[in-house]
Subunit: 131 residues, 2 copies
């Protein structure tokens, strides 16, 4: 496998084939701590670090006392987002990482932070057929 050059996100260009990355969609049910902005920010940062990603910015927005939180970690390797519905214990998370980072490595951090009763995960290769 010959590697010609390196993308800004550290993704290898192998001959003429580029695989921009893997995108995980994660639905957590029966989750906790979904109103805790400080905990959510810490979880995003620790999840990114667990994957070996570089954090460029983290933005969070609270929808008010007792309501949900939206957070995005912008990474050199793409992003992690979280949207929470504390009233039903639901959190929708997505992790897109290009380059050598494996987004699955974020899962133990996120499971520890939100202790869901059940997690649904689907993985999607982005740009898989790019030539």
């Amino acid at each position: 496998m010959e590697r010609d050059t390196v993308l800004p996100c550290a993704g290898p260009v192998v001959n003429t084939y580029v695989a921009p990355g893997l995108h995980l969609l994660i639905d957590m049910h029966g989750a906790k701590n979904l109103r805790d902005q400080a905990l959510i920010e810490r979880a995003l940062r620790e999840a990114a670090t667990a994957c070996g990603a570089t954090i460029l910015d983290v933005k969070l927005h609270s929808f008010g006392e007792g309501a949900g939180i939206t957070g995005v970690a912008i990474l050199a390797e793409s992003h992690i987002s979280i949207h929470t519905w504390p009233e039903t214990g639901f959190a929708a998370i997505d992790i897109f990482m290009c380059g050598g980072c494996d987004p699955h490595r974020a899962m133990p951090v996120l499971e520890a932070a939100f202790t869901p009763g059940r997690t649904s995960l689907s993985a999607h290769k982005r740009g898989e057929d790019l030539r």
Copy 2:
């Protein structure tokens, strides 16, 4: 169909069933304007508006002269993200919207902005089985 209350994102709680939203993963191949930060910001804002969404913040990061751009529009109804690889004409976009917003309505705006040769789109219901 009885509607009991309204979530912060304006998503209806119908009895005990909540449908947090629809998540589109969009891969654009042979796309243009992928280095143009002002155009990308405008496209994110116009895409959100086309869906009837409320923009809370828009963050963009350029990886330098000639390189790709990462952008996220944080919405009251969740988010739109874009990551571009201008060197190969590839853009990875995702749109997650809860409530009454239809993310498909962003597509004409995004296609007009980036004029891809080919677009792959997959749609994923988030929290579909939440009870």
